[in-house]
């Protein structure tokens, strides 16, 4: 009971913040931002509590809520009529993977709220209200145990994000917001139709039940029951398509580039850090969880998609001359590794994919945090106009370099672990694709160094105009936290690996590996 | 009294309704449109009263209902005219086809 209350509190406390914000006078921004940051940080405390509790007892079963929500059907006993019962539950729960994602969400929300203080210049109440609703929704997405609840939270993130991108940010933000909305709404539409189809044919929407029902029916059920192979293939491909938008898989990625380039850096921290991870989360939980056989059949396709993402993103990141776009394409490239890991369908691969999901969340967050701080000073993010930043701002440059190193997969940092595991996993299965993918990490080095060194190294004519202030300690704090997390995963990956193991075993049980 | 068949009442109601509909759809003056709507409501009232008297089980429900409709119609007209006056202050026109501000 207390455990489930904590989970509920974790998800809902930001909403209290929304209410609190409405009572703050309009001209008292100081109080407003403090309340916003405070409430965005509370879930982080809860998530830390859950993690510690998890490592002490080793169980997450307590953290679940099962409430009847909507029940309908036809139970009449008239002859010639089969009884039906449809149940939609308000089910929340955690497994190792979602626990880590909840933790990541809570952490990044706190830091992002902190980072946005200086970036929001108008309509702060609306901003923080939406921000907190978004936080609740993201936490909800990762803890929902019911497909419709998942979908509900998923849609809430979409709408709040749409406004957050469209109202605050750079010049073309409205266009970016519309692209974001259109692409993702189409993806959601496909996802929703798949969910409805599954729901209508099984009568339940609980994720755990469905995983057992659909995944195992394929092998265990007698003839004629469950979905036919063709249906399952179609459903799997539709899910892949739906999450491809969120992922994003080339060629559905243009909205991502626009959002990265046009939204506030603080929002992009959240967006690159968490929102696109919902695509990976969905693909792993629903794609692999519900349709393991199909995932196996289409693993080559997924591997190819991953490879294309990896190379395509890296190549374009190499020639873009605006740091935010470079980072956007690097996100595309990094998500390719998630796909490669998923395609491997073994412990190494899936663990690599999950690690990459978390690791890239941290890396993207630190990079965009720093870019935000840089922009606050330089008011430009075009590489050609920057340079020599290391002279006046050694700390910012150091963090930028460290983030870049993590991004290009330097050992000792989180990116390396995930890449290495994904590659090890995939090599058994698709050696040729793996070899090409490994070559991709050369390009990663090229684009990361090109961008980071263009900013930090060099003579820096722009620097001569005025003296720039380096990061103060309070400004550096988020970067310190993120970098510590990146290093922690890189140096002691087993802590995370142990958390993830049950979730991976569950998925692999479906695959039968 | 009963020499007048029910169909005559219904015919009257139809004629009234059609006039009201025509007026509501074609007149540009908002006041006329409102009057036309009143016509349609009254057409409905006639129907109600007719069926109340000539229906399968004649009773007073229809009469009472028509009283309600009149009351509501009066309130509606009052609200509509109030809105119209408020609009007229902002935009000196009573032509209904110029009141498309929600579109733009």
């Amino acid at each position: 009971m207390t455990h489930s209350f904590i989970l509920l509190a974790l998800i809902l406390t930001p909403l209290l913040g929304v209410i609190a914000l409405q009572f703050i006078p309009k001209d008292n921004y100081t109080l407003g931002k403090n309340v916003g940051v405070l409430f965005s940080g509370i879930p982080f405390l809860f998530s830390i509590y859950i993690i510690f509790d998890y490592f002490q007892d080793g169980g997450l079963t307590g953290y679940s809520i099962t409430k009847k929500w909507i029940t309908f059907g036809n139970l009449s006993e008239s002859p010639g009529h089969t009884q039906t019962l449809y149940k939609v539950g308000f089910d929340l729960g955690l497994n190792g993977f979602s626990l880590l994602l909840v933790f990541l969400t809570a952490l990044l929300c706190m830091l992002s709220a902190y980072a946005s203080i200086k970036q929001v210049n108008y309509a702060w109440r609306l901003y923080f209200s939406l921000f907190l609703i978004l936080e609740t929704a993201m936490l909800g997405v990762f803890s929902a145990q019911d497909i419709f609840l998942f979908f509900l939270f998923f849609e809430v993130t979409l709408i709040t994000m749409f406004i957050l991108v469209g109202k605050w940010g750079y010049e073309e933000r409205a266009k970016a917001a519309y692209r974001f909305l259109v692409y993702n709404a189409l993806g959601s539409l496909i996802m929703f139709s798949v969910f409805v189809y599954i729901f209508v044919n099984t009568g339940t929407s609980n994720i755990g039940t469905l995983t057992e029902l659909i995944a195992l029916n394929g092998r265990l059920a007698p003839e004629g029951m469950g979905f036919s192979d063709e249906t399952r293939s179609v459903l799997f491909l539709l899910l892949l398509l739906a999450f491809a938008v969120k992922f994003p898989i080339v060629p559905f990625h243009t909205w991502l580039i626009n959002v990265h380039a046009q939204a506030l850096p603080a929002i992009v921290m959240l967006h690159a850090g968490i929102l696109i991870k919902m695509g990976a989360y969905g693909l792993i939980i629903f794609g692999l969880g519900f349709f393991p056989d199909q995932a196996q059949n289409y693993s080559f396709l997924i591997a190819i998609l991953g490879l294309v993402n990896l190379i395509y993103g890296a190549m374009l990141a190499m020639i873009e001359d605006e740091i935010k776009k470079v980072l956007a394409y690097s996100t595309v490239s990094h998500m390719g590794i998630v796909l490669l890991g998923i395609a491997a369908l073994n412990e190494f691969g899936i663990q690599g994919a999950m690690f990459q999901v978390i690791s890239h969340g941290l890396i993207a967050a630190i990079m965009f945090y720093l870019v935000g701080k840089l922009y606050e000073r330089s008011e430009t993010t075009v590489l050609r106009q920057l340079g020599g930043v290391a002279k006046d701002m050694p700390i910012l440059s150091g963090f930028l370099l460290a983030g870049g190193m993590a991004s290009l997969g330097l050992p000792g940092m989180s990116g390396f672990i995930s890449e290495a595991m994904a590659f090890v996993g995939l090599f058994e299965k698709e050696p040729v694709i793996t070899v090409i993918a490994v070559l991709g990490i050369i390009i990663a080095a090229v684009y990361v160094l090109r961008a980071v060194l263009a900013i930090t190294f060099g003579k820096g004519d722009i620097m001569k105009e005025r003296k720039w202030k380096d990061l103060s300690f309070t400004e550096a704090l988020p970067a310190i936290i993120l970098l510590s997390a990146i290093l922690f995963i890189g140096i002691l990956p087993n802590v995370f690996a142990e958390t993830l193991r049950p979730a991976i075993e569950l998925i692999l049980k479906g695959i039968g590996g | 009294m009963s020499s007048i068949p029910a169909s005559s009442f219904l015919l009257l109601a139809i004629i009234l309704f059609c006039i009201g509909l025509y007026g509501a759809l074609t007149k540009r003056n908002t006041v006329v449109v409102l009057i036309s709507i009143e016509l349609m409501l009254n057409a409905a009232n006639i129907n109600l009263v007719t069926f109340s008297k000539y229906g399968l089980t004649p009773n007073l429900t229809g009469h009472i209902f028509s009283l309600f409709v009149m009351a509501v119609a009066a309130a509606e007209a009052a609200v509509a005219l109030a809105i119209l006056i408020a609009l007229y202050r902002n935009k000196p026109t009573i032509l209904i086809d110029e009141m498309d501000d929600l579109k733009h």
Binding site: V182, L186, L316, M318, P431, L453, F457 | D100, H104
Partner: protein
């Protein structure tokens, strides 16, 4: 003592952390702290080497990551090769630390410099005690990071930025080969451990092609780090870093890591003749190729850089011709005399503020000690009899000869001649003759610079005696004791010794005639107009060729993708948004805002319904 060997890499890491976190703005204290740590590290490493000499071996591992049923471990291993490398690295690192106390004086980022040195030393020491391939790879990349940071130390110079970037990327190309090799071995053996991989090789669990492929892939990694052809171009550019860094990283330790890697995985190479031949051919070609470029360079550090590349080629040649001991032996002696040469060059640059040897001259009057140690280093690298290089180079020549490959032997012999030629060119141009204008204000450096050089000079002279046929082959016995390789008894003809001596002396003599007596300066002579000179002086245009065949096409490809992005992907996007806009347009046309229009449409459609209902007699609704 040997049980706390894990402390050896940890200490420099601590030094890095302490200095970068707390002493960033305190150059004096920071450099002192770094030096203390460095000294303790060196003492510990020496104790470990002594312990190993007494016969202790150690392998200890901890679980690092569990994936499914596989457990990946990290740990440390002390065997003969490791302990020797520990000693060399910590020794040179300590001396370079001391040297930098004076060399980096006045730089306001002095503390950072020492921190980076600590980071690099940590990675390098951890690399050499790694007991498995994954750990090796981890630190392999980290030494690359250290090297990158130090090359780019003068970050405000555009050339330093380019050099740092190039070094990182070029070595990463090699690293990718290594990574693929590791992946291949892991899928075949199921473990990253050296011991298990070697056991699998011994027991014939691996088919020949896998061994060959993985050995060559590992060698690609070594090619990248050790600056072998065709990935050598970064090493000369890396001279943009401060000179002590060049001495430590780009002469003595990191670039030798490639040789170390091949030596550490020697059991793999040993069973594959193709892999061995590849190593030998690449090494041999690199040796003569780099030597020929070194002959014409004007920048003193670049000459030394090319000589490093060339000497590393020698080591590879030795390893490729089954000369395991010869390769490691040359690695050891080379670490001492090349570090010495770089430090001496640094001392010269410190004094004259130019790196162009043709602008220097007559420094032996002004910088007596520097001149002396430089001469010692030059003699050692030229293989002058009884200096350290003499013994190790002879070993390599013997191993080349006994492998039966005469062509390579003669190439190596000719390269030895070139080596003494171009090294003495530097010596004669810089130190002898008339005092040039640049040299006229030179002053001898202080003791912090001189003492490390003198210590290294001692080693450069005498380190050869650890492995001679006259006094005893101590190194060979020590290394082969626990190396899991088979040793072929070889009989070296004694004439090789004489040939090596003659070649070395001939090189020195030619050099004296050309540069000592006549002061030939290529830049001013008519020879500089000839195409041969310009080809070699421009390093055979390798950089330009890479630019043309790799960089430009990649950029073109990326630009092509950009076009696809803009045209196809953007096209898809426009189609989608176009459709949506079209739907919206229709909707917006219908929604004129005129209520009467809506009403009319509603009425007519209602009427239509009624009509249809009437005509079909309600059929549509049944």
């Amino acid at each position: 003592m040997i049980h706390s060997a894990w402390l050896i890499p940890v200490l420099p890491l601590l030094s890095f952390l302490i200095v970068i976190l707390f002493l960033r703005n305190k150059p004096k204290l920071g450099s002192l702290v770094a030096n203390c740590f460095s000294l303790i590290t060196f003492i510990l490493a020496t104790l470990v080497l002594v312990g190993r000499l007494q016969g202790d071996s150690l392998l200890r591992e901890w679980n690092w990551l569990e994936v499914g049923s596989t457990t990946i471990t990290l740990g440390f291993e002390i065997n003969a090769l490791n302990s020797l490398m520990l000693f060399i690295v910590s020794f040179v690192s300590f001396l370079v630390n001391v040297y930098s106390l004076e060399y980096m004086e006045g730089d306001d980022r002095k503390s950072i410099f020492f921190a980076y040195l600590g980071l690099f030393t940590f990675a390098m020491l951890a690399l050499v005690i790694s007991p498995n391939l994954l750990q090796t790879y981890i630190f392999w990349e980290l030494v690359g990071l250290g090297s990158f940071l130090l090359i780019g130390f003068y970050f405000y110079k555009d050339s330093a930025r380019a050099a740092a970037k190039k070094a990182f990327i070029m070595t990463r190309i090699g690293d990718v080969g290594l990574l693929i090799g590791i992946l291949l071995l892991f899928t075949q053996v199921g473990s990253f451990e050296y011991d298990e991989i070697f056991a699998a090789v011994r027991n014939g669990e691996l088919i020949g092609s896998v061994i060959t492929a993985s050995a060559i892939l590992i060698f690609i990694g070594a090619v990248g780090k050790s600056g072998q052809f065709p990935l050598h171009t970064w090493l000369p550019d890396a001279m943009e870093g401060p000179t002590p860094v060049s001495a430590l990283i780009h002469a003595a330790t990191m670039v030798a890591a490639g040789v170390y890697l091949v030596a550490a995985t020697y059991p793999l190479f040993e069973v594959s003749q193709i892999a061995l031949t590849t190593v030998a051919v690449v090494g041999c070609f690199t040796a003569i190729f780099a030597a020929s470029i070194g002959l014409f360079q004007k920048d003193i550090k670049r000459v030394l850089a090319y000589s490093t590349v060339s000497q590393l080629g020698f080591m590879m040649l030795a390893l490729g011709t089954s000369g395991y001991v010869a390769g490691v032996f040359h690695l050891t002696t080379h670490a001492f005399f090349k570090a010495l040469l770089f430090l001496a060059a640094g001392s010269v640059i410190h004094a004259v503020h130019t790196q162009d040897i043709e602008e220097m001259g007559g420094l032996n009057k002004r910088m007596k000690i520097t001149s002396l140690v430089f001469l010692i280093g030059t003699l050692a690298i030229s293989g002058f009899p009884l200096f350290s290089g003499f013994f190790s180079k002879e070993e390599i020549l013997i191993s080349a000869w006994t492998s039966g490959n005469e062509i390579m032997f003669f190439i190596a012999l000719f390269t030895a001649f070139l080596t003494s030629l171009y090294m003495f060119r530097v010596y004669f141009l810089v130190f002898t003759g008339e005092t040039s204008e640049a040299s006229s204000h030179a002053k001898e450096s202080g003791s912090a610079i001189l003492v490390p050089m003198l210590i290294l000079a001692v080693f450069a002279v005498f380190s050869g005696f650890i492995n001679t046929h006259w006094f005893g082959t101590y190194l060979s016995d020590f290394l082969l004791e626990d190396a899991q390789i088979t040793v072929k008894e070889t009989h070296a003809p004694t004439w090789i010794l004489y040939a090596a001596t003659i070649v070395s002396l001939a090189g020195i003599f030619t050099s004296y005639l050309l540069f000592g007596k006549n002061k030939t300066k290529f830049g001013e002579s008519s020879f500089s107009k000839s195409p041969v000179y310009s080809i070699v002086y421009n390093k055979y245009y390798i950089d330009e060729i890479y630019d043309a065949i790799v960089v430009k096409p990649t950029r073109l490809f990326a630009a092509g993708l950009k076009f696809i992005e803009w045209f196809c992907v953007g096209g898809i996007m426009k189609t989608i948004s176009g459709c949506i806009q079209f739907v919206g347009w229709i909707g917006s046309r219908l929604q004129s805002g005129k209520i009467q229009t809506y009403g009319t449409i509603a009425v007519f459609i209602f009427a239509l319904f009624i009509l249809v209902y009437g005509v079909t007699n309600g059929g549509l609704l049944k």
